[in-house]
């Protein structure tokens, strides 16, 4: 049981929660995630740990409502308890002093990029953050990211906030004009793929954080397998971060569609039930 101690709305359908789980809070490092389950018939879903506070023993999660579990989670309130919470899972981000690090976050991926930017900064790197979203309202955590970055560039597809255009355009300008030692890119699969393709000719190591479908999240089922460097790797125990130049993004995109119809059925049914009551 893990009690929700804080809840806020970051953007339409994007929520932040602080959850009391002292052990995970004391252990967690940037890049790791938790698996949670919110009811006795619930599915297990992975969510990145965005931040933690050892003193209050809380972890922060940020999620977008995309299906039944995230919908029901968004209806939970301060004081409610999440019945099953396991973690921290996955390998932590490899943090060292690389020099100049560009951290690219797209959409809800900003929530995953933030703790990495923070840890990179704490390790003495010069951090340039590039955040992108469809529209300004969806550029979440920009204050937090700005606070841990030496420089922050905001981009939106519709130009409502920051530069109009994609994160790749801003990243390209930076790669062309400065020396960058490492890129970290987290967001939708097409964005991570585009960033990896962009950085490849520059020879800049590019770390991506993958979000395949998981069942147990502890290395047991292989549902989260991804092709990296031509071999099968499990995102839950070997990742979730991998070298973007080695990842087969086409394979990942395909596998993410495997349960789309079921996900929709489940979401529709639960929303229909919600409107009735």
């Amino acid at each position: 049981m893990a009690k929700i101690v804080e809840k806020s709305v970051l953007a339409p359908e994007i929520f932040l929660m602080k959850v009391k789980e002292g052990l995970i809070a004391s252990k967690r490092k940037a890049g790791q995630f938790v698996i949670l389950r919110i009811s006795s018939k619930g599915e297990r879903i992975p969510l990145t740990i965005v931040d933690s506070d050892k003193e209050s023993g809380t972890i922060t999660i940020v999620f977008q409502v995309v299906g039944k579990t995230t919908h029901l989670l968004s209806l939970m309130n301060v004081g409610d308890e999440i019945p099953d919470l396991a973690g921290p899972l996955g390998k932590p981000t490899e943090i060292e002093k690389f020099g100049n690090v560009a951290v690219v976050g797209g959409g809800i991926g900003i929530a995953v990029a933030y703790p990495i930017a923070k840890a990179m900064k704490e390790a003495g790197n010069r951090v340039i953050s590039i955040l992108g979203a469809r529209t300004g309202q969806l550029l979440v955590l920009k204050k937090e990211v700005t606070a841990v970055s030496d420089e922050t560039i905001l981009t939106t597809d519709d130009g409502s906030l920051g530069l109009a255009g994609f994160v790749t355009e801003s990243l390209k300008t930076i790669l062309d004009t400065r020396s960058i030692d490492q890129v970290v890119a987290i967001g939708p699969v097409p964005m991570m793929r585009a960033v990896s393709e962009l950085t490849r000719p520059y020879g800049v190591k590019t770390i991506v954080s993958l979000n395949p479908i998981m069942v147990d999240g502890t290395g047991m089922c292989g549902a989260c397998r991804v092709m990296v460097g031509g071999g099968i790797r499990f995102a839950c125990v070997d990742g979730p971060e991998f070298d973007g130049h080695e990842v087969d993004f086409g394979d990942l995109s395909l596998r993410l569609t495997a349960y789309r119809e079921y996900e929709k059925t489940s979401f529709d049914l639960c929303q229909a039930a919600g409107t009735k009551t």
């Binding site: 039944k68 099953d84 973690g87 290395g219 089922c221 292989g222 489940s266």
Partner: protein, 470 residues
Amino acid sequence: MGNDDKKKTRAPRVPMLERRPEDRVRDFGEVPLGYSPEQVKLEAVRCLGCKNKPCKGGCPVGIDCAGFVKRVSEGDFTGAIKLVKEKNILPAVTGRVCPQTEQCEGSCILGKKGDPLGIGFIERFVADWEREHGEVLPDKAPASGRSVGVVGSGPSGLTVAADMILLGHEVTIYEALHEAGGVLIYGIPEFRLPKDIVAAQINSLRRLGVVIKVNQVIGSTLTIDELLTIHDVVFIGVGAGAPAFMGIPGENLIGVFSANEYLTRSNLMRAYRFPEWDTPMNPGKRVAVIGGGNVAMDAARTALRLGAEEISIIYRRSREEMPARAEEIRHAGEEGIVMRLLKAPKRILADSSGHVAGIELLDMVLADADAYGRRRPIPKEGSEHILEVDTVIVAIGGHPNPTIARTTPGLDVDGRGYLVVDRETMSTSKARVYAGGDIAGWGANVIKAMGDGRIAAGAMHEFLTREKKD
């Protein structure tokens, strides 16, 4: 009378009634129906009562089989279950899933000329009888003040927990998933091992005082070193749960599952009850299961119950080499699962949307037995042919999960990632840490894992007792 004995034709085994294949494939209810008290006594009196008890020698945990069978033949079911539980805390489980034909029953003298004694059936009866007639809780030794941490709640961990709690130690089990039982819960399906039976056996441990903490991923949530600051000794029984894949083209297509994923979705996550339960699965209509072990049989028979219409088991050796229990192979066959023997997959074919459309197979021939007596399968050139399927389930075993080894300095693993243990004590290279079951590198099964747990518990108890005296 000696003459009579020679002339007497030995009675065949009292058959256990089973549900008819056409009925049982429609649900997840158990297939064998169990003995009645009359039947079990009839079967028990077939025991020859051999002095040297080969059955006991054939059991990895040394159950006095002839002893408890004798009590059953006298109608003393309480006495029988007491005797079984001296050595085995999960009789309702092992009575159902042990490979008896290779163990107790394989050693039975009756088997030389006819059916061996149905020791598994009798064990199952007394365990079920106990559950229905009130549990026989063994006595606990006085509290020792020492504490044991058990990592994993599968068969080896449960055995260690039971043995250590009875010896007076405090026991805490750490389970990574949200439900205790390990492979007994996520792996073995309901129709072979009903989950309420597993739950009942785990609850009896709780009643004895064992604390079970779920959602604890050891190596992450807490490290082994941290457990060693909480507990005097630690046992690692986490299995070898990382599924193996074949490394052939097409293995990531939609519709390819590890058996672990397929069974976990169905068993642990109850995906067959989607959308009432949240986790979905598409069980497939034409299913190929790769492998010849119990897990392959479980996956195939699960697919059938989930609505698959045509299911094949693809195995690269012949039926004789299949590692599955004889009863599972028979049940699968009765239920209409097709055994495609001496075949190995070469690649999995896709349709235009990235779903499985078929599997290309190669015929195999078996080479002469090698030094270990195993006949290696060799592909027949030019024998490629395609089987149209929409689902492929890979059931070819597993590897150790790297999480604990990665985070535990001083814990030695072998080249494949299994923990190195001293077989006499199941102690690892790290002081106060023991291990058993699949993670300790045996091609284990439930009862062998329990056997490891038994040895480890004995060694841990000795260590704790010795340490106290010092």
